[in-house]
């Protein structure tokens, strides 16, 4: 199976859906991989519990994703609210090598019970970093996208940057690219720690 199952959840307005659209844009339009994206609709996307899913097939020969919704266990989880964190069980995420990553935001999640039993869990205080470094929480998306790009490993830097250019107003591009770098760095550090932990 070469399906790569991504689920992002949080509350409406955090950029959950935008991030999913960035991931599918980079995967399908720039990396030429088959992909589908589904999302929460209506009121839930506007302040309520919000989710989005992307399924990417890492096999370039595959032209279509058959089942369009992400299936458990996931390859990648991004959890941005405590309400969503409460629903996560350790077995919801894969345990294989080079997959099964969780990114969560301790600035919006005080208590994440399952996280201790998830091996590849990276906490990034996305909202705090975005506000402190760039003055607005909207830059959180590019931080997360940077971390996703490094950990998932199937989106090239070039594709990621082209995607950001597509999504952000040109006046904020530089700041977004800096935020992207920040996210990349967090993920690279994390991978290094994981490797050292094993050695």
């Amino acid at each position: 199976m070469t399906r790569y199952e991504v689920r992002i959840s949080g509350f409406g307005g955090q950029g959950v859906i935008t991030l999913s659209k960035m991931i599918i844009t980079a995967s399908s339009l720039y990396e030429n991989l088959a992909a589908t994206q589904t999302e929460a609709y209506s009121a839930s996307a506007r302040g309520g519990r919000c989710w989005a899913e992307v399924v990417v097939d890492l096999d370039k020969e595959i032209k279509i994703i058959n089942y369009p919704k992400a299936l458990k266990p996931y390859d990648f989880l991004i959890i941005l609210s405590e309400e969503s964190a409460n629903l996560i069980k350790p077995e919801d995420i894969k345990k294989d090598e080079n997959t099964g990553y969780l990114i969560w935001d301790p600035s919006t999640i005080k208590k994440f019970r399952a996280v201790r039993r998830i091996e590849k869990a990276l906490s990034i205080p996305v909202q705090i970093l975005a506000v402190e470094n760039f003055g607005n929480i909207v830059f959180g998306n590019s931080i997360l996208f940077g971390a996703f790009t490094i950990l998932s490993g199937f989106i090239s830097e070039e594709s990621a940057i082209e995607t950001i250019k597509n999504f952000v107003p040109s006046s904020t591009l530089d700041k977004n690219l800096e935020a992207f770098e920040l996210g990349k760095k967090e993920a690279q550090e994390f991978l290094k720690q994981l490797k050292e932990g094993k050695d």
Binding site: K21, I24, T25, S28, L29, A34, A35, T36, Q37, T38, E39, Y41, S42, A43, S44, I64, I65, N66, Y67, P68, K69, L71
Partner: protein, 381 residues
């Protein structure tokens, strides 16, 4: 039939937008609609896009007006479309029969959500499959297409316009809340076949609006406001369009209206099939719910089970010939998967003299996962 040239491109878009862009590609110049979840994006997209191609977008006061104004635009020579979901479709029901009676080409998109009544507006279902077929009163045939991917939301919307022009009948594209909202890449091809309706075959003084000269039983269609003067009505009418209240008139008209679609079944019916040649069990599905099936079939075949797949791309008229062929090819059982309490399965059950029929028919809002279908399949083998 004409070939239109388009710039080849790949776009990443949602099912609803792909459907609307498909309509523009097909030459749609008129959209009248009333927004309803989860179809509203089609209207929103058309409101931006139609003015760019000198088309007309009108947000109507309700669905009754939406559908009838489409038939008006159709008689004015335009390709017309409306889009809605179950509750809105209910309001259009009466006038779908009018469209059949007037033989007015038009496309109606329904993005199925949970029902009955208000149901689950933001979720998907396949529970309006009968509604698409039997919405209106009276004895009639209708064409319903069922896309399964965002690409098919584009392709089958174009096909819907082509069929409606060719057979002069409202054609329904039956999609659902998930497919309408989800994103996938769509390949826009450079060569697309477009069909334009048959023109009057005689000069104005000899023209009778419902006189069919050809084997396809489709009369040539004059455009209102040209030299051709004619009268159309929802009443039973003769070939001149005048109301006629005799039993013979009913028989002649209704037989022709139904027969023009029934005899075109080989041209209308469309499906994807896999491994039918040696299949013992055939899984039949359609729309979004078909997308879990290919994986199940491959998995089962790896285990040595002779399982085949049929994915219907057109639901109505029902492909009787396909069912007969499945029987002839030796399948002993057909399992119908649908996100409703059992609708298409009843059509398949008409062929129980050829094979056994069982179903996974659940009125749920999420397409069946491969794992779920596989577990059910293993109980049947």
């Amino acid at each position: 039939m004409s070939k239109a040239r388009f710039q080849e491109k790949r776009i990443l878009t949602t099912g609803n937008y792909a459907c609307a862009e498909g309509a523009i590609t097909a030459g749609c110049l008129y959209f009248a609609g009333y927004p309803i979840t989860p179809s509203s994006e089609i209207a929103a997209y058309m409101s931006r896009r139609l003015p760019q191609v000198n088309g007309t977008f009108i947000q109507m006061e309700d669905e009754l007006a939406s559908i009838t104004s489409c038939f008006g635009a159709s008689y004015a020579g335009m390709k017309a479309m409306t889009a809605t979901s179950g509750p809105g479709f209910s309001l259009m029901a009466e006038s779908i029969g009018l469209g059949v009676m007037l033989e007015a080409p038009a496309v109606i998109v329904t993005i199925m959500r949970g029902g009955p009544s208000t149901g689950q507006p933001t979720n998907a279902s396949q529970s309006d499959v009968y509604q698409t077929r039997y919405a209106s009163h009276g004895d009639y045939e209708i064409i319903v297409l069922a896309p399964s991917t965002v690409q098919e939301m584009y392709d089958l919307t174009i096909r819907a316009f082509n069929l409606s022009e060719k057979y002069r009948i409202p054609v329904i594209v039956a999609s659902d809340g998930i497919l309408g909202q989800m994103m996938e890449v769509v390949n826009i091809h450079s060569n697309i076949e477009l069909v334009e309706r048959k023109k009057p075959q005689v000069p104005p003084e000899k023209y009778k609006p419902f006189e069919a000269f050809d084997d396809d039983l489709v009369p040539g269609m004059a455009i209102a406001g040209t030299n051709y003067s004619f009268y159309v009505t929802g009443l039973t009418h003769d070939i001149e369009g005048n109301p006629e209240m005799t039993p013979e008139a009913a028989e002649v008209l209704i037989k022709r209206l139904c027969e023009k679609i029934r005899k075109a079944r080989p041209q209308i019916n469309d499906w994807e099939e896999k491994h039918l040649d040696d299949a013992n069990i055939v899984i039949l599905a359609y729309g979004i719910n078909a997308r879990g099936v290919p994986e199940v079939v491959e998995q089962a075949r790896q285990k040595g089970y002779k399982v085949g797949l049929v994915r219907l791309k057109s639901l109505w008229p029902f492909p009787d010939e396909l069912m007969e062929r499945i029987g002839q090819m030796g399948a002993s059982k057909v399992i119908v998967c649908e996100m409703n309490n059992g609708m298409i399965i009843r059509e398949v059950q008409r062929f129980r003299h050829l094979f056994m029929v069982s179903g996974i028919t659940i009125p749920t809002t999420i397409p069946f996962s491969p794992k779920f279908i596989y577990e059910k399949l293993m109980k049947e083998v």
